[in-house]
């Protein structure tokens, strides 16, 4: 049940409770209770809006930064990750396998804002060995949604 509720609101966080209830053949109260429970359990962490900022005049620049670090005894990568993700301009931070350790997504208004964050804050941290910054040139797909796609019903009239 929870998984079905989650998959419905994952695609549309504004879907109304009545609709979720109807789709799953349960009562609205049950849906509301499950949502509240999942919020307090930290399963649902927020309700966000997917925005294509390119279509808005305000300039936004996104970058992916690969960070190599030295893990600390007893703490592994957690403490260094925390020091990075606490910066509000950092949108997400993942520990990953492969040639580097942390992948940091960040957002800024200008190139300079991002590069100064990397040079001044990130690369000067203790335990950070190196960084590689990739600027996003264009977003094709984000959060499972293809941006700039128009969906039309392609089905033609036919019988039977």
């Amino acid at each position: 049940m929870r998984e079905e509720i989650l998959s419905l609101i994952e695609k549309n966080s504004r879907i109304d409770l009545k609709e979720v209830a109807a789709c799953l053949n349960i009562s609205e109260v049950e849906v509301a209770n499950e949502l509240a429970a999942m919020e307090s359990e930290g399963i649902i962490c927020g309700y966000h809006t997917l925005i294509d900022w390119d279509k808005v005049t305000e300039e936004r620049i996104h970058a992916l930064i690969e960070v190599r670090v030295t893990p600390q005894r007893g703490k592994g990568f957690d403490e260094i990750a925390e020091r990075i993700y606490k910066y509000p301009e950092v949108q997400s931070t993942y520990l990953i396998s492969g040639g580097f350790d942390l992948l940091v997504f960040m957002e800024g208004k200008t190139l300079k804002e991002i590069s100064s964050f990397v040079y001044e804050k990130l690369s000067t941290m203790d335990f950070v060995l190196s960084t590689t910054t990739h600027f996003v040139l264009r977003k094709y797909k984000d959060h499972g949604m293809i941006l700039n796609s128009k969906s039309e019903d392609e089905r033609m009239i036919m019988t039977p």
């Binding site: 079905e4 789709c23 799953l24 019988t159 039977p160």
Partner: protein, 387 residues
Amino acid sequence: MRNPLSQTIVGIKPSGIRKFFDLASERKDTISLGVGEPDFDTPWHIRDEGIYSLEKGKTFYTSNSGLMELRTEICNYYARRFDISYDPKHETIITVGGSEAIDIALRAMIDPGDEVIVPQPSYVSYEPCAILAGAKPVIVELKNEDDFRLTAEELEEAITDKTKILVLPFPNNPTGAIMEREDLEKIAKICIEKDIFVLSDEIYAELTFKKDHVSIASLPGMKERTIVINGFSKAYAMTGWRLGYALGPEEIIAQMTKIHQFAIMCAPTTSQYAAVEALRNGDEDVKKMRTSYNQRRNYLMNAFREMKLPCFEPFGAFYVFPDIREFNMTSEEFAFALLDSQSVAVVPGTAFGDCGEGFLRISYAYSIEQLKTAMGRLALFIEELRN
């Protein structure tokens, strides 16, 4: 000049679904709930495999019966999902959609004068295909109070000395009805007793919302007298690829292959390669689509309950079949009026046989948003009629 036309074909009525859509498409702002075709795109990995096959130059005919690789996957699939084993070499043929398989199966088994039992409401092709094959169709009227399942009594009543084939169209278009194991066991018993063959159209087999589909061919003594029809259109959202298949006894498949090789040669090659991918790696897609259809089905049933429109709960395909008898209008009148006043297109039940009178077929191969708008309008319409 002589009349150039065959009187047999002239005598066959064109499908009744068509004129509705012609009307509906002329009007702007119409929401159609009429299409019997998945609204999902074919999953990308399947399309990609089709593209890849073209890049590799797989642009030739396949063998008449279809790619051995695909036939093997189909047999694996039937064994895995429905617990029946078929021989890919002798008991399997790939066709241009399930519809071709229906046609050639009837033609391979019918002699003039044979009778074919066709339960209705059902898909519109069985009756004309039976007539074109030279048979006399015998209609069995399925009933709302039986949840539109075929009962043993109805079947027995329709059987004569000339009965050769029973068409078994479940999960059913247009009613959404299914037949469960207990229902099928009774039918199977009669078919064995009376020595009747079954054409089991299982095109919606993946779209059931109660229990998994049971194929009548899996019941004892039935495999040797059943032709199973299935295809990729509904389960994998592959309508435009035109790919189906038939599974059955070697001697019947051999004669079907003869018709197929003269009329069709072979099914489209690109589609066959794509279908191999669908069967190998498509289970998850099918599951996702089924979940989504089920949510829409629940949504519609809930909407009907709210507007107090009676509708038996259908557990298969992607149709609901609400009962509009309280309004004292024919299905056609209702559908025309609904289109006229609220711009919602649905198909009158009579398009699927006379006994569909008093019912509508509503397809839920549409997004929840579309269904929501359409149900809002339908509720208004019904309210006006009741006042």
